[in-house]
Symmetry: C2
Subunit: 327 residues, 2 copies
Amino acid sequence: MPRKGKRWIFAKHFDGFPKISDMRLEEFDIPTLKDGEVLLEAEYLSVDPYMRPYSARLQTETVMIGQQVAKVIESRNENFPVGTWTLVSSGWTTHTVSDGKGLIKMPLPEGVPRSYAIGSIGMPGVTAYFGLLDICTPKAGETVLVSGAAGAVGNVVGQIAKIKGCRVIGSAGTEEKCEYLKELGFDEVFNYKTTKNLDAKLKELAPEGIDVYFDNVGGEFATTAVLNMKLFGRISCCGAISGYNLKEPEKLSAIYGKMVFSQLKMEGFIVTRYQPRWAEAITALAGWVKEGKIKVREHKTDGFENMFKAFTELFTGANTGKAVVKV
Amino acid sequence: MPRKGKRWIFAKHFDGFPKISDMRLEEFDIPTLKDGEVLLEAEYLSVDPYMRPYSARLQTETVMIGQQVAKVIESRNENFPVGTWTLVSSGWTTHTVSDGKGLIKMPLPEGVPRSYAIGSIGMPGVTAYFGLLDICTPKAGETVLVSGAAGAVGNVVGQIAKIKGCRVIGSAGTEEKCEYLKELGFDEVFNYKTTKNLDAKLKELAPEGIDVYFDNVGGEFATTAVLNMKLFGRISCCGAISGYNLKEPEKLSAIYGKMVFSQLKMEGFIVTRYQPRWAEAITALAGWVKEGKIKVREHKTDGFENMFKAFTELFTGANTGKAVVKV
């Protein structure tokens, strides 16, 4: 009798907000290992907002994409003996057969929770690190605005900006998230959902304008932030979550004249471009976490069968910090 | 009897399209020179699109801003003897008294028409040079799109892009301008006013996407161009002429998701930031003009009393090339 694993199949392209009928949870037979292969068992799986726009390029009837923390439970590869903890991008599956290519040994030191390797000391943290420091080059004393600040990337952006001596303004969608951001040391926080006039709010919190805007949300929020930037302001476009589930693109005020006359720089990025410098970010982030300068918060969902629920909660504002699923 | 000069007074802030009643042509008494001063007489005055948005910051009842080519006709300053040709930013006036500060001696070699110093080998040319080369770093073989391509800046952008080995697409608003761009060597040109579906047109002319977009117009055109950029595309925001005379900002499709997932860079600039490297651009541009690699076309208006007409023609599409007024 072959052993069974479970996986989530991307069955249908999302149309607007993802529906449970767009995906399928199924069992599969775990194949017998060939020479050089290992069998991995997932411990923590990551759900991230990027999965929504990326899904447009996926073929249906394939396993949904994503990264996980997994343990080698059977090995025919001497580089990865049984018991080795790894990071693998094999998607929403409990078990993975790997020939070792692209398989990363757990980069975190002992004593740091393994789930951080898919969070603040993993892809989302590295995204925050380069998206803020490389694209926006913030200087001490500058005003940094972060949207989606209670999310996996946003909270790290704000904390790095504080480490660099900036004045940090964060926005989030619930009072509880705003409290969390205050605990993290953000200088100013506000609930964008209860803010009637965002333009007036930004002018109140940054009367001389915003030097750096780290955009996780796009849409009307991003446009209003851009229109409130200071001369030579920098904008890092990291995500546009407000638009991911829209069927028609939003209509927003023009920003081109503002781009010219305030001499703004806006750059979009995907963190994979920083692959050659990945270790630099991991080292810095792990150091800040150990020193307590970056506090980590996770939104944990139990049970592989709840992957889809954890995924859609990214878009309803239900989670604070990094969303992970524990098998 | 004091000698008389003429000047255009900015009498009222423009509201929408500039009206002749917003300005006033008047005579003034030319003061007697003090020690160290010179009297300049304008030969060519520049009218440029930037004057419209900049006017919002001007005080009323001052002389309208702008640069001119002027000759020293009286001198009490040994650095600028009578007969010296200069560039001066004294605005829309036939006569200027200067103490020599900020007064620039004509930088062009003999044999080059002096009016080029306020055109292709002056501010608009330098704008094209840095806005394309410094902000967009075009590489040979890349596809470059220029809007407002028949304008003072746009035509030079296209010609520099050709010099750098790019494939150049230009847009303009009349058939006559499109013909002009073909003569300049643009690979593809189109009349945006008669193009029913701009998105389809860009996809036809750049099926693999646009590497570099030099934006002179803003608005719907810019948004459509951004949405057709290739991975790692660069956008130089130089002007947004389509919006300068609008009373309400346009509503445009969101570009933030595209910025992220195509990893685009967009930067606005004002050419004065390149002041320390000005000579580099002038030297390059003068060289290309002499070699015939940059062809110069001017839209000359005769008569100082026609300044306002020449200015508003920038926004009605009446001029091709650099607009200058000859006194």
